[in-house]
């Protein structure tokens, strides 16, 4: 489905990702690892927000390395930001329709907003600005990805910036998404409960893949060795 071949990414003074080779075919793959290990960079490379210094990105057999963000989005890649973007004036409804497509019925949009635990009537006409809390923005960010129902959905630490109580609800959202979504899901997370619903786990460390295996093989070992990994990159 998604293949990364010899991906390297470096800035002027720092190597962030080193020779990454990956084949992602499973329905739900979690990426974890210490802060600064390159997880968010990996997601941005797949979404096209940054371009690799070396290597190729292949989606369903097609080389998409040189494609723009827009072209990749139209080929079926969705990306949920770790820090959702605020827009003055654009409403939840505006963004949901941009995500789902103009032909979508309002009732479907309302349904998706309810799925992420928000009351559609209260939120549809709210502006995505400073009047919404971090947790509310995060849910809407996730709702936008649901609405796109893409071939590949990337989530960059959906738990970041959400309080524990909201996070419990979010887990149910993801559990439901795993059951309902046909496309592949790649999620960057530090949370055991998210890793626990993954088919496979990628463990990144110092810009390299240290482990990539089924949840059953990798999670117990990780839980023993990895501690204090909360926070973003």
């Amino acid at each position: 489905m998604l293949e990364l071949q010899n991906i390297c990414y470096q800035t002027d003074d720092k190597v962030i990702l080193k020779d990454i080779n990956l084949n992602i075919n499973d329905h739900f793959v979690a990426v974890t690892g210490p802060n600064g290990s390159g997880k968010s960079t990996l997601a941005k490379l797949i979404a096209g927000i940054i371009k690799p210094t070396e290597g190729k990105i292949i989606l369903d057999g097609e080389d998409i390395t040189e494609l723009s963000i827009t072209e990749r989005a139209n080929k079926g890649i969705s990306y949920a930001f770790q820090q959702p973007v605020r827009f003055k004036g654009l409403t939840v409804k505006d963004l949901m329709f941009l995500a789902a497509g103009k032909g979508t019925k309002l009732s479907e949009i309302r349904g998706i907003i309810s799925e992420v635990g928000l009351n559609a009537t209260d939120y549809l006409n709210r502006s995505l600005d400073g009047s919404l809390s971090g947790g509310e923005l995060k849910r809407i960010e996730i709702a936008m990805i649901f609405a796109r129902s893409s071939k590949l959905s990337l989530f960059d630490e959906p738990e970041a910036g959400i309080d524990l109580w909201s996070f419990q609800k979010l887990i149910h959202v993801f559990e439901k998404m795993v059951q309902q979504t046909k496309g592949n899901i790649v999620i960057i997370s530090h949370q055991e409960r998210i890793l626990d619903i993954a088919d496979k786990i990628i463990y990144l460390k110092d810009g390299q893949i240290e482990k990539y295996d089924s949840k059953e093989n990798i999670l117990p070992e990780l839980l023993n060795s990895v501690t204090n990994n909360n926070g973003g990159e």
Binding site: I49, I77, F81, V85, F87, G89, L90, L95
Partner: protein, 305 residues
């Protein structure tokens, strides 16, 4: 009315037929249609160009449309419209001006709207300015709005000038009595070498009166904008003004908010922000499948909504 005038009428007042209620449609300097109702009387002025709009006490859920259309190149007019709104009313007033200029002479509409809003009345006022036409002649508009709010009166103004006006001086003056409330939302976009100046001046005189001014503007190409707002807090009152601008290309934007407190009980706040479209906003919309240009248009149209 010809097709151009009908199109302009739709642009400024969303009218494709005569509206319900009171109206005065002015086209090329003359009254094209007028209607008074039992509660709202429209009377042409004798001494100068314009109309008096008299709204009886306790008039509720009624509307007045007073659009102005200019399609004749070179026409310049100065119009005085005075609104006398009684007590305990709840009305909607829809104004607006459209200029279509396909000639080489400048066309101009200077409208001076004065509102006397009676005790405990509520007014919602919409004003949209629009220009078009391929001619070399400029499309000029200088709207002046003067608002006198009596005790407990409320006025909510939504004004917009999104395209086609070459030069504009928008002036809004208000005085507020006790417990009155004024809310103004302004949207302006300038392109090409257009220039827009917007001035607000509010005297917060009465106890517990409040004024909130929000101006959102987009300056593109080589256009220039200047926003000034002056809130004078003369009593126990609250005032807030916000000027938020997106600057693009080679445009220039000047924001000069001013506050004057003449009472220790006055609570006044101003905010002014000027900046380009945030890169992460463009990226977010591009991840939803929009091109960079489409993303930019979405952000601007949302911002000016």
């Amino acid at each position: 009315m010809d097709e151009i005038q009908k199109k302009m009428l739709y642009q400024v007042a969303e009218l494709d037929s005569l509206p319900v209620g009171a109206y005065n449609i002015r086209a090329n300097g003359k009254a094209a249609a007028r209607n008074s109702t039992a509660n709202i009387e429209i009377i042409p002025k004798n001494d100068k160009s314009g109309i008096d709009i008299k709204i009886k006490d306790n008039t509720k859920n009624e509307s007045v449309h007073i659009p102005v259309i200019i399609s004749e190149t070179g026409l310049k007019e100065l119009v005085y419209n005075d609104f006398f709104i009684g007590e305990n009313c709840d009305v909607i007033i829809i104004a607006g001006c459209g200029i279509h200029n396909c000639g080489s002479a400048d066309s101009a509409h200077d409208g001076i709207h004065t509102f006397f809003v009676g005790k405990n009345s509520k007014v919602r006022y919409f004003e949209k300015h629009y220009g078009e036409g391929e001619g070399r002649g400029k499309r000029l508009m200088n709207p002046t709005t003067v608002v006198h709010l009596d005790e407990g009166a409320q006025m909510k103004m939504e004004t917009s000038q999104i395209s086609g006006i070459d030069d504009t001086l928008r002036s809004t003056k208000a005085d507020l009595a006790a417990n009155s409330k004024l809310e103004i939302n302004e949207s302006v976009m300038t392109t090409g070498v257009q220039n827009a100046v917007s001035e607000f001046n509010a005297e917060l005189n009465g106890e517990n009166c409040s004024c909130n001014i929000v101006s959102r503007t987009v300056a593109r190409d080589n256009s220039t904008q200047h926003f000034t707002s002056r809130l004078n807090g003369n009593s126990s009152c609250s005032g807030h003004s916000e000027c938020d601008s997106i600057i693009m290309d080679h445009a220039s934007v000047l924001a000069t908010p001013e506050l004057l407190a003449n009472s220790t009980e006055a609570s006044l706040i101003h905010e002014a922000a000027i900046g380009k479209i945030a890169g992460e906003q463009l990226i977010k919309l591009m991840t939803l499948g929009l091109t960079e240009q489409q993303a930019e248009e979405q952000i601007i149209s949302g911002f000016l909504k």
